[in-house]
């Protein structure tokens, strides 16, 4: 399945945001997404989550014959698997160009920089050596697979333990884990990739691009580096042009990022080692937080509300006390009463119109009851159409309810007058209308 192309609107939006030095997920230019490293039950199994990108690495070992030209060296094989499970863009079968490129970067970063000592993997020179294989599976692609894969691969290699082997003359014994403790690989240094995305012909640069940013970017540069500030791989590609200064700047940024990442990896490894030593539970089941819904989870984000609260209190102070509505009852004729008639209109809009309409109503009221009910419903219709209609329809039957409503409203008003936050100053209007209706209903 081909990936759905990104729309021009969205592309422009993302690019504009980047030009304004903003990122669509709210990160800063040099920020990584949340990185989480967890381990499986088995040794050499590691899952890395970088935001929503998820990568699993599993290391395994077997004994085989060494290469003719290097009889005393074991081999390290790194295989990156882009399964269709991770993204609809990945097709099953033959690896794509980008897949091969990423695999090569990974190989160069870890194997060619001699991160793992291969000579210590030799058992019998020229006959038997360990062949260590790291399979990196991408489980979910939300951008920047490269960094997640490199972290997963090197962490898994550091986490792996191979069975101990002893050689007695011609005899080679592989000890089971119960017999002898498995031994770790000798990892000299931990190279980690940092990906930079470039936009507008290299004018803007971002660290750790997510899926959308990746699709908009002009090109990327991958810098593989270890803690000792040694560059293990450098790969710049994809139809863009850079100058020397940009390359050097990237290597400087990478230095800082790599230090942070490696510290995190070390912490995770230590924590796992402690858990295993203490016989605590470990593995994926333990590392998954105890939420019922683990997919599409959203991390809680802190929002600073002090500014908003200040503004609100300022508004309240400036507003001053709300006018006390005068609800004088006017007895127009024996048996009829009117409340709220003839007061100043506090609705912000069409002050004059309303006023005149009200006056008209007043005149009509004395003529016929039915017409009056219609007339009163008119102004209310504008603001609260549903309620007004229902009033007009069954004004007779809902008499009591309306009286209650009015009372309630009046009470609310009196309490709100003191606190009054959101209640608009015109709150007397509905009450007035209801008052009228009550009168109409009574008639």
């Amino acid at each position: 399945m081909k990936e759905v192309p990104i729309s021009t609107c969205e592309r422009e939006f993302i690019l504009k945001a980047i030009r304004d030095r903003k990122r669509i997920d709210g990160r800063q230019t040099y920020d990584y997404r949340r990185l989480k490293v967890s381990f499986g039950m088995e040794r050499g199994c590691c899952i890395v989550e970088l935001g929503d990108t998820k990568v699993l690495a599993q290391v395994s070992g077997k004994i085989e014959e060494p290469k003719k030209n290097r009889p005393t060296e074991g081999s390290i094989i790194i295989n990156l698997e882009l399964s269709p499970m991770a993204s609809p863009a990945f097709e099953p079968g033959r690896p794509t160009e980008s897949g091969i490129e990423m695999n090569r970067i990974l190989e160069r970063n870890i194997r060619d920089s001699r991160a793992v000592d291969t000579e210590s993997l030799c058992i019998v020179a020229g006959e038997k050596v360990w062949s260590i294989r790291a399979d990196v599976h991408v489980l979910n692609d939300e951008g920047n697979i490269m960094d997640a894969a490199s972290i997963a691969a090197i962490t898994a290699l550091a986490h792996f333990r191979r069975p101990d082997v002893t050689v007695m003359g011609e005899e080679v014994t592989i000890h089971s884990p119960e017999d002898r403790d498995p031994v770790p690989l000798s990892v000299h240094h931990m190279p980690v990739c940092v990906t930079f995305a470039f936009f507008d012909q290299g004018e803007f640069l971002l660290v750790d691009p997510n899926r959308l940013e990746e699709r908009v970017m002009d090109g990327r540069m991958v810098v593989g580096m270890n803690m000792h500030r040694e560059i293990c791989t450098l790969m710049m590609s994809g139809g863009m042009l850079l100058v020397k200064e940009q390359v050097l700047r990237c290597s400087q940024i990478a230095t800082v990022k790599v230090a942070e990442i490696i510290e995190l990896i070390q912490k995770a490894l230590d924590k796992d080692a402690q858990a295993r030593q203490a016989g605590e539970k470990c593995g994926f089941a333990e590392s998954v937080p105890a939420n019922k819904i683990t997919t599409n989870k959203k991390e809680p984000t802190l929002i600073d509300t002090t500014a908003a609260a200040q503004q609100a209190s300022q508004v309240i102070q400036e507003a001053g006390p709300v006018d006390k509505p005068m609800s004088n009852m006017i007895v127009q004729a024996p048996g009829t009463a009117q409340i709220g008639e003839g007061l100043v209109n506090t609705w912000q809009i069409d002050d004059v119109d309303m006023e005149s309409e009200e006056e008209e109503e007043g005149r009509k009221k004395s003529v016929t009851n039915g017409k009056e009910a219609e007339a009163t419903s008119k102004p209310t219709e504008r603001k609260r159409p549903v309620k007004a209609v229902s009033h007009a329809d069954d004004s007779g039957s809902e008499e009591e309810e309306k009286v209650m409503l009015y009372q309630g409203d009046a009470e609310m008003k009196s309490t709100e007058d003191s606190t009054a936050l959101q209640q608009p100053p015109n709150s007397d209007k509905p009450a007035k209308k209801k008052g009228k209706k009550k009168k109409a209903a009574q008639k």
């Binding site: 160009e97 091969i100 490129e101 695999n103 090569r104 160069r108 060619d112 920089s113 001699r114 540069m221 580096m225 270890n226 000792h228 500030r229 040694e230 560059i231 293990c232 791989t233 450098l234 790969m235 710049m236 590609s237 994809g238 139809g239 863009m240 042009l241 850079l242 100058v243 020397k244 390359v247 050097l248 290597s251 400087q252 990478a254 230095t255």
Partner: protein
């Protein structure tokens, strides 16, 4: 029983491997007698084939590469590749079976050559003015005849000449060069022996006039502080290569011009 084919300079490699790789002598000379910032001899020839729209042959020391360019022509095989606003660049890299010390079983299609093809494509997509040829395709075929280090560089340089020969407009020449860092000093234009010593080296393809980097690749470990030195040397190397290529192009054009006016 069976005759083992060795690298053309196997006799040279062997003693150095044994002597713990004395890449630079005390006098500051390298194995093949160069100074640290010297290029190998560059020989080039343009228009070596009649069928192709553009072709070139280059020798950089013992590394020899052949490049041919076809196009721009209509997009063949896979109309899905058509770009409505620019030409697609199709590159194929291959190594002759006799190019290396040990005979190559797969001249093309293995991971390394696929990667190389992709890098070549990316390089030339950035440099050729593809917007001038919408809905068309440019083919670049490169073959390494003898590999002695700096294969990618030889390919890029040969392909540049071939593209110029084909008359396809480019933003600038694109020149490539390697630079290594061995025994605490940067070395220009790494040969196979120096490459296999396991020292870090940088491959740079750039447009020499604007010093814009088109492709950058690095192997092995290099301290970030030494990066600038190596990059500067590689830039200088690219400019030197450019001077040589430019002279070749001008010679070639004036020669052909003279022939045309004579007849």
């Amino acid at each position: 029983m069976c005759h083992k084919i060795r690298h053309p300079r196997y006799w040279l490699i062997l003693p150095f491997k044994m002597a713990g790789l004395e890449i630079i002598s005390d006098q500051g000379y390298r194995i093949d007698g160069r100074r640290s910032s010297e290029l190998r001899k560059v020989c080039a020839r343009m228009g070596v084939f009649t069928q192709a729209d553009g072709s070139a042959y280059i020798e950089q020391g013992n590394t020899k590469a052949l490049a041919t360019v076809y196009g721009p022509h209509e997009v063949r095989k896979g109309r899905g590749k058509i770009q409505h606003d620019r030409a697609v660049v199709n590159c194929q890299f291959s190594m002759a079976t006799f190019s290396t010390g040990e005979r190559k079983s797969r001249p093309k299609g293995d991971r390394r050559s696929q990667e190389m093809s992709m890098h070549l494509r990316q390089t030339f997509e950035a440099v050729i003015v593809t917007e001038l040829f919408p809905r068309s395709q440019i083919d670049i075929y490169v073959q390494i005849l003898q590999a002695d280090g700096g294969n990618y560089c030889a390919c890029v340089n040969a392909a540049t000449l071939a593209v110029i020969d084909a008359g396809i407009p480019m933003k600038d020449y694109v020149c490539a060069c390697t630079a290594g860092f061995i025994q605490d000093s940067p070395l220009l234009d790494i040969s196979y022996v120096e490459e296999s010593a396991g020292a870090p080296f940088l491959t740079v393809a750039m447009m020499p006039k604007s010093e814009q980097i088109v492709l950058l690749e690095m192997n092995s470990r290099l301290h970030a502080d030494n990066m600038e030195k190596v990059l500067d040397l590689a830039t200088q190397g690219c400019k030197d290569v450019f001077a040589v290529l430019d002279r070749h192009v001008r010679d070639h054009v004036s020669e052909s011009h003279a022939l045309m006016t004579a007849s």
